[in-house]
């Protein structure tokens, strides 16, 4: 299938609700954190509905815990489906990680061992999720700080194999590749070269922080130059991919973030042709 291209988006954050509603700034689309709206009612949903009228959206979750050995959380999936029906997003995504075990939630994106047993486990669960929500999903690569002794393959092979066998798509976080490359001593370009181009549906960009010589995925700074370079490299490899910037802490005024997004647009214009950058967001992904 031809990859839909939404253009250049931003993460929708509470601090920017009023600016977005009042000024309708020029942004191609917004990504929402699903869990922020998996609530009964009130202001967040009212703002969401208003903003959705003017912008395409995608939904990005942090709590599906697709890699957990707990049973899939049926209540969570029901609420997710309710939100999908409300937002009608272009697509939904979550992380290739686990967040809870024995029903205790870490509220963190915890890494998995990269081996065949984990792949089989996760492929089954993604298929169940896709059956439940009636559409294909995207899985995102993590920033990670540990490697398990029983990992048997590079992360990119792990991601590819799951996407292929579960018939889902990949949300490639360029900053996460940079962070993990530093923390686990691999070349970030090897990761990008190793990913199946046909499965990549979206890019994330973000800033990070240093903890000694390790890098932590904090989303509290501007995107740094090496990550912009890696983004340029990724565009050269994959072509036009819907791109957004995540900012979750130390959040600047909206227009500052918008200017940062303009850097992504400028890089894409340098690497790709206007034909490649034609926005094609008419159909939602994989809706049955």
């Amino acid at each position: 299938m031809e990859r839909p291209f939404l253009g250049f988006g931003l993460g929708l954050r509470t601090a920017h609700y009023e600016h977005v509603i009042e000024n309708k700034p020029q942004v191609d689309w917004f990504e929402i954190i699903s869990e922020n709206y998996m609530i009964p009612g009130g202001k967040p949903l009212a703002h969401l509905d208003k903003i959705r009228q003017d912008y395409p959206m995608v939904m990005h979750g942090v709590s599906m815990s697709i890699g957990s050995t707990d049973p899939l959380n049926v209540d969570y999936l029901k609420k997710l489906k309710t939100l999908i029906d409300r937002v009608e997003p272009q697509w939904i995504s979550d992380h290739l990680c686990w967040t809870a075990v024995n029903h205790v939630n870490s509220h963190d994106l915890l890494p998995l061992p990269y081996n065949e047993a984990t792949i089989s486990h996760i492929v089954d669960r993604i298929k169940q999720v896709q059956d439940t929500i009636g559409r294909q999903m995207l899985i995102e690569n993590l920033s990670s700080y540990v490697t398990y002794n029983n990992s048997e393959m590079p992360e990119w092979d792990f991601v590819n194999e799951i996407a292929k066998r579960a018939d889902c798509y990949i949300l490639l976080d360029i900053n996460n590749i940079f962070v993990s490359a530093n923390n686990h001593h691999f070349e970030p370009q090897d990761y990008i070269n190793g990913i199946d181009s046909d499965r990549v549906m979206q890019f994330h960009l973000a800033g990070h922080s240093y903890n000694g010589d390790m890098i932590i995925d904090t989303h509290d700074h501007d995107v740094c130059d090496p990550v912009w370079s890696l983004y340029e490299y990724a565009l050269g490899r994959f072509g036009a991919v819907s791109t957004m910037i995540e900012r979750d802490d130390n959040i600047p005024p909206f227009e500052e973030l918008r200017q940062e997004l303009a850097i992504a647009e400028k890089i894409a214009a340098k690497v790709l042709t206007p034909q490649q950058l034609h926005i094609s967001n008419k159909s939602s992904l994989g809706v049955a």
Binding site: H103, V104, S106, A117, V146
Partner: protein, 259 residues
């Protein structure tokens, strides 16, 4: 998947500070030991939960000060591991912890402040229902009044306070020095969200809380009027009852009628 399950449990035990056996399953590198790498997750775990608690109880945090609030959060995180997928609901048991398991049991305004903040959080994103109007009331058929009961907005919450905790909360919200805590006779407060999506609150007079409590339990209008006879004579009671009902409607507390 028992290997993966056991590994995940050992990883979680590390975050919960209960066991360090997972260390042997993680690669150490010259850059950072396995323990140093796991500690990044362990620190982030507590930090994230503390951020969630502080978001929900920011006035209490101001009232207690950094050191005491930090200690309270550590106790909460140890006693109440998260069983929710949504951080929004993680801190929901903090008032009970304060009341039942801390030295603040004898400093009642601390518990009351926590109750107020939790009520605001619960009101903020309670389910949206339509708002009943005076026209809806006027359109009720005469026979409805015999069994008429009331459906309240999901955001409506009643809080009983024995201290001047709302003035304390208000001062903290406005970044003023809070008044000294004073014990008084128990008073009821109502907190609810209007159509402007903002949560409002006010004190309830004894006669109003007496019938409001009945109305919220689903008792009908006749029972409420009977209760009001404890406060007013037979002539005054029907008009007083209608007056309360009209104010609940104009203040956007009511969602509808049942009969």
């Amino acid at each position: 998947m028992s290997d993966l399950h056991d590994m995940q449990q050992r990883f979680m035990d590390y975050l919960l500070d209960e066991s360090t056996t997972i260390v042997d399953e993680i690669e150490s590198t010259p850059m950072r030991s396995a323990k140093g790498r796991l500690d990044i997750y362990a620190s982030a775990y507590r930090l994230r939960l503390k951020e969630a608690i502080t978001t929900d109880y920011d006035k209490l945090a101001l009232y207690l000060g950094d050191e005491r609030f930090e200690k309270l959060m550590d106790l909460y995180i140890d006693k109440f591991p998260s069983h929710t997928t949504n951080l929004r609901y993680f801190s929901t048991h903090l008032p009970e912890l304060i009341r039942d398991e801390t030295d603040y049991a004898h400093i009642a305004e601390v518990y009351e402040l926590a109750c107020i903040e939790r009520a605001f959080a619960d009101s903020f994103d309670a389910k949206d229902l339509q708002f009943a109007t005076i026209d809806d009331l006027a359109a009720l058929p005469e026979q409805a009044w015999g069994t008429l009961s009331f459906k309240f907005q999901k955001s409506v919450q009643i809080i009983w306070l024995e201290h001047n905790s709302f003035p304390i909360w208000k001062a903290l919200a406005e970044e003023h020095t809070p008044p000294k805590a004073n014990k008084s006779s128990a008073t009821a407060w109502i907190l609810w969200r209007k159509s402007d999506l903002i949560s409002h609150y006010r004190m309830l007079a004894p006669e109003e809380i007496a019938i409001l409590a009945l109305a919220m339990q689903g008792e009908n209008f006749a029972v409420m009027c009977e209760k009001l006879l404890e406060f007013y004579n037979e002539q005054e009671t029907p008009m007083k009852a209608i007056g309360f009902l009209q104010s609940w409607i104009t203040e956007e507390m009511l969602a509808g009628f049942e009969y």
